[in-house]
């Protein structure tokens, strides 16, 4: 584990009652049972069952339209399954209200996206602080946490910049900082290097791997086999919305 990653995820720095993984002694952080998501005319996800243990780094792979992003959205509580159950950190999220899902995302989920999804009219610091503010974290600890993340991700000198003035790699680092500010149990990444050049993509991939090595559970959606092989310890292959393969991978150095 690198010092930088420890600085970001060190469980010892968590707030009271915020153990990692979120429920101590839990064997399974994510539990999907026979999950189907059907859109008019087609099933994006069909009967998927999947368990992810705390601390795992799982890459979900598949061609376009295979249901990778839909699966990610279902785990993030951004979408609801047509049938089946989704349990994360011991909580059935498929039955939660919209408010319950918002609370669930604040508490347990950090998300990073292919196109960063930063808010253009907010500074880097404001973007990173936003989830903490929505979770009503007190100002001083929230700012301290944000500063800590920006420093660890080496973008503290950009804290007052607006996203439009950042490079792609810097934007994704800001997105990672925002995803981690509430110390989530699960980091979900949807094609995190898809919009970056290969060198920057490598840097972000390495950063994610360090995070996982420091204990951060991670689910990574990608169509890039090399990325999956290098940074994930397990690969789930989706085809037409179904799990075609689920195997441990050899993590690259």
């Amino acid at each position: 584990m690198t010092g930088r990653a420890r600085e970001i995820t060190d469980p010892g720095r968590r707030g009271p009652g915020r153990a990692w993984p979120s429920v101590p002694g839990m064997d399974t952080l994510i539990e999907l049972r026979d999950v189907t998501k059907r859109y008019p005319g087609q099933a994006a996800v069909a009967g998927v069952s999947l368990d992810v243990a705390p601390g795992e780094a799982v890459a979900v792979m598949g061609p376009s339209g295979s249901g990778k992003s839909t699966l990610l959205n279902l785990i993030a509580g951004l979408d609801r399954p047509t049938s089946g159950t989704v349990t994360v950190a011991g909580e059935r999220i498929d039955t939660l209200s919209e408010t319950g899902l918002a609370r669930y995302r604040r508490r347990h989920i950090g998300m990073i996206f292919q196109f960063f999804n930063l808010l253009d009219d907010m500074t880097v610091l404001d973007n990173v602080l936003l989830p903490a503010q929505l979770a009503r974290m007190r100002t001083a600890p929230a700012r301290a946490r944000a500063a800590e993340l920006l420093r660890a991700l080496r973008i503290e000198n950009r804290r007052d910049s607006y996203p439009a003035r950042l490079s792609g790699g810097e934007r994704q680092r800001v997105a990672i900082a925002r995803a981690l500010v509430n110390r989530p149990a699960l980091l979900l990444a949807d094609e995190p290097t898809g919009a970056l050049d290969s060198a920057t993509g490598e840097q972000i991939g390495a950063l994610l791997r360090d995070l996982n090595q420091s204990g951060q559970t991670m689910l990574l959606v990608t169509h890039n086999p090399a990325l999956a092989a290098r940074y994930a310890r397990r690969t789930v292959q989706l085809t037409d919305g179904r799990v075609a393969a689920d195997a441990a991978a050899e993590v690259g150095s």
Binding site: L78, D79, R106, M111, N117, L119, L130, L134, A164
Partner: protein
């Protein structure tokens, strides 16, 4: 299907702008038609009705033909050179009536005319309900006679000297007030008429002198003393106008506010819809649309719902205006009014032209952008806008969703300004309406003294009554009496004024009546008087001056101690004690008693009970001259509601556009943990600041407008008003009004905010 039509149809998939455009045009055109029609009709309803109904320039009452005057002589006056049209002679009888089968009191005396038909060359009567009197025993009553209690059709009246009864078969309006009711000539003959009436229109009747000259010409053509009275149309107009003129400025301002509001919102809605479609415009151009086709597609896209909304609004406006104008006509005391066709044409033309212009300008601008520029322009507001506001507001100790929402207006300043103006107009209308309603209520109460003079006891003319002391005794004995005072209404001449001045004289101080004081104080004894603004202006005097009045040939010095608002008499008027007039040698004849009731006493029940006690000698009636007030207040409320709805629709549109602009950001907010309630708060906050600013600005604007309007109404009625009629806003009320803008804004923002709160996060994140 042409490409342009295809693009127009595709644009209709965005239902909210289409719906809001249609709704705004609907409400705007309905409000405009209503406001403009009422304003136009309030300009000169009497003149309109007088022309439409061929009102009589003079109603000349003569001795009845049976008493010596030959009917042929009266008929011959039609051929006089001064006469352009005439009707009559109609037999005229003044009768005493009571409800048949009931031992109750008599009704006020009724002047009935015998007419075969309601129509004619002069005084064309308008049947407002029921039908004309076709047979014996039928009577049609005048709808403008407010001295009568409500008498439904079918009511049977017993008339002194007439065998059987008269049945009320209809209500009709006479613009010249030629009679209280009409019967067939045969029925009139059975009433033993002692007079006849001739109705004339003269070649020239613009002035009192011209009317007098016309009457003089008629008189010269008849035997001496044949004419016993003549009623000039100018007198009728003078009695009607004060009821109309004060309302006119209010209606004109409301109509104008409606139009301004419509324009602002139409510009906001249509230009916003076009700007929101910039990206689509870019795509259309990239697949081969010419700038002309793009401009045509987007102008049509705005014009189709606009035209549909406008048409529906015109229909609704006319449907609403019909009954309102009918009721207003009753308030005005003139016959039925209608929406002039040009009002519909003007409203439709103006609104559609503005809509077209508002759509064309941004559509042309967008059509001239290159495809790439248009696609980029459609994505987000210009970079950098509102960033500072975000940073500064983010430091406030408010929930983060609220500060994010508060910063939003700074990203689209032009849209914010138009929204601010729309909310400002709506909130100003609310403030104005609140004050205007209170002012009008106080004015009407003050003019009619209806709060203190709750019951009026009058001696019907021509009826032999008992000793004068009968009435005071009956009033004193009647349970529910709190105060009463005897009132004499006489005429006196005042040095410096050509016309006699009406004098209201009370037998005691009668301070409890509470005449509205403009300045000075109430009189305290003989030799003191309070006078109207008209008398001070006409005589060039001021409070503290002494004037000399001539009454019954005696010159009496009177010191002016106060200026009052006199609702009974327009122009010069004087209020004093009967003891002041007694200096002339005899007490003036008391014709009326004014009664204030104990709290909780019903004026109607009291009057009914008192009438039983009074018998035939006097007639008590509730002082319900405020009957018209609910209609006026209803008008104010209806127009205010329409304007507030239009303002809220403008906000709705702004927030819809803003929400659509930021739908992707909404997805991000929700993905990082923003709850539905926080989303609702954030979206509602985007207009809360705008609404609050507009509301705060609307309070002084509304108060200023209210003071101007009420003063203008008073000036139209030829008087000043006591300060208490203008200062009607209380502190807590002002605080409530200050948040009216925010209430309008948040009400408009709630539908899109709820949508945003419910929207699928995954779908929002997919949005481009």
């Amino acid at each position: 299907m042409t490409p342009v039509l295809g693009a127009v149809r595709g644009g209709f998939r965005r239902r909210v702008p289409v719906l809001v455009t249609g709704l705004v045009l609907l409400v705007s055109s309905a409000a405009s038609v209503l406001g403009l029609a009422l304003a136009v009709d309030s300009n000169a309803p009497f003149d309109q009705a007088f022309t439409a109904q061929r009102g009589a320039d003079a109603v000349v009452t003569t001795q009845a033909p049976a008493t010596g005057l030959a009917a042929a002589g009266l008929t011959a006056t039609r051929r006089l050179p001064q006469i352009t049209a005439a009707a009559g002679p109609f037999a005229e009888a003044t009768v005493t009536a009571r409800l048949a089968g009931r031992p109750g009191p008599t009704l006020p005396p009724l002047t009935l005319a015998g007419r075969a038909t309601p129509g004619g060359l002069v005084d064309d009567l308008v049947i407002q309900s029921g039908h004309w009197a076709h047979g014996p025993g039928q009577v049609v009553l005048s709808s403008s006679d407010d001295s009568l209690p409500p008498l439904p059709l079918g009511t049977k009246l017993t008339v002194t000297g007439l065998p059987g009864t008269l049945t009320v078969v209809g209500m009709a309006a006479s613009v010249t007030g030629s009679a209280d009711g009409w019967v067939t000539p045969a029925t009139a003959a059975a009433l033993h008429p002692r007079a006849a009436q001739m109705l004339y229109r003269f070649r020239g009747a613009g002035t009192a002198a011209a009317v007098r000259a016309g009457v003089a010409a008629v008189s010269a053509a008849l035997p001496p003393h044949a004419i016993v009275g003549a009623l000039s149309w100018l007198t009728v107009q003078a009695e009607q106008e004060p009821g109309i003129a004060p309302i006119a400025p209010f209606l004109i301002v409301f109509g104008a506010t409606g139009l301004v509001l419509s324009v602002l919102i139409v510009i906001n809605v249509v230009s916003g819809a076009v700007l929101a479609s910039c990206r689509r415009i870019g795509i259309l151009k990239s697949i081969g649309f010419t700038p002309g086709q793009v401009a045509a597609a987007y102008t049509s896209q705005a014009m189709i719902p606009a035209a549909a909304g406008c048409l529906a609004g015109l229909v609704i406006g006319n449907l609403l205006a019909g009954p309102l104008l009918g009721r207003t006509a009753t308030v005005y005391g003139v016959a039925t009014l209608g929406v002039p066709p040009w009002v519909n044409a003007a409203v439709a033309g103006a609104l559609l032209a503005l809509t077209g212009l508002a759509a064309l300008l941004p559509a042309v601008r967008a059509s001239r952008l290159s495809a790439v520029q248009a696609i980029a322009a459609g994505r987000a507001p210009a970079a950098g806008r509102g960033y500072l506001a975000h940073r500064l507001l983010g430091r406030l100790r408010l929930p983060r969703p609220v500060t994010i929402g508060l910063a939003a207006p700074f990203t689209r300043p032009s849209r914010t300004i138009v929204t601010l103006a729309a909310v400002l107009a709506g909130a100003t209308a609310v403030t104005l309406a609140a004050g205007l309603g209170a002012s009008l209520s106080r004015v009407v109460s003050g003019l009619t003294l209806s709060r203190t003079e709750q019951v009026v006891v009058q001696a019907p003319p021509g009826i032999v009554r008992g000793p004068q002391r009968d009435a005071p005794a009956a009033i004193r004995q009647q349970p529910g009496t709190l105060h009463y005072v005897a009132e004499a209404d006489v005429q006196a001449s005042v040095a410096g004024l050509a016309q006699p001045v009406p004098v209201t004289a009370f037998q005691s101080s009668a301070g409890w009546i509470g005449y509205p004081m403009i300045s000075g104080r109430w009189y305290r004894g003989p030799g003191q008087a309070d006078v109207s603004t008209g008398l001070l202006t006409g005589t060039g005097t001021a409070i503290g001056d002494t004037i000399t009045i001539s009454y019954e040939g005696t010159r009496i010095p009177v010191r002016i101690v106060g200026q009052v608002l006199d609702g009974e008499n327009n122009g010069p008027a004087l209020v004093t004690s009967t003891q002041t007039l007694a200096t002339a040698g005899h007490q003036p004849a008391v014709e009326q008693y004014d009664v204030e009731l104990r709290p909780g006493t019903s004026a109607a029940s009291y009057a009914q009970a008192l009438n039983t006690r009074l018998g035939l000698a006097y007639f008590a009636r509730p002082n319900d001259h405020q009957r018209g007030l609910p209609v006026i207040v209803g008008l104010i409320a209806a127009l205010t509601l329409l304007l507030a709805v239009v303002a809220a629709l403008g906000v709705l549109n702004t927030v819809v556009l803003h929400t659509r602009d930021r739908v992707h950001d909404l997805g991000v907010f929700k993905a990082v943990g923003m709850s539905p309630r926080q989303t609702l708060a954030m979206v509602a906050s985007t207009v809360a600041l705008t609404g609050l600013v507009a509301g705060l600005a609307a309070v002084p604007a509304g108060i200023g407008l209210q003071r101007y309007l009420v003063s203008a109404m008073a000036a139209a009625a030829g008087t000043r008003l006591p300060a208490s009629f203008l200062d009607v806003y209380a502190g807590p009320e002002l605080a409530v009004l200050a948040v009216a803008g925010m209430v309008i804004a948040v009400a408009g923002a709630l539908p899109p905010a709820s949508w945003a709160a419910r929207a699928s996060t995954a779908a929002a994140l997919r949005a481009e």
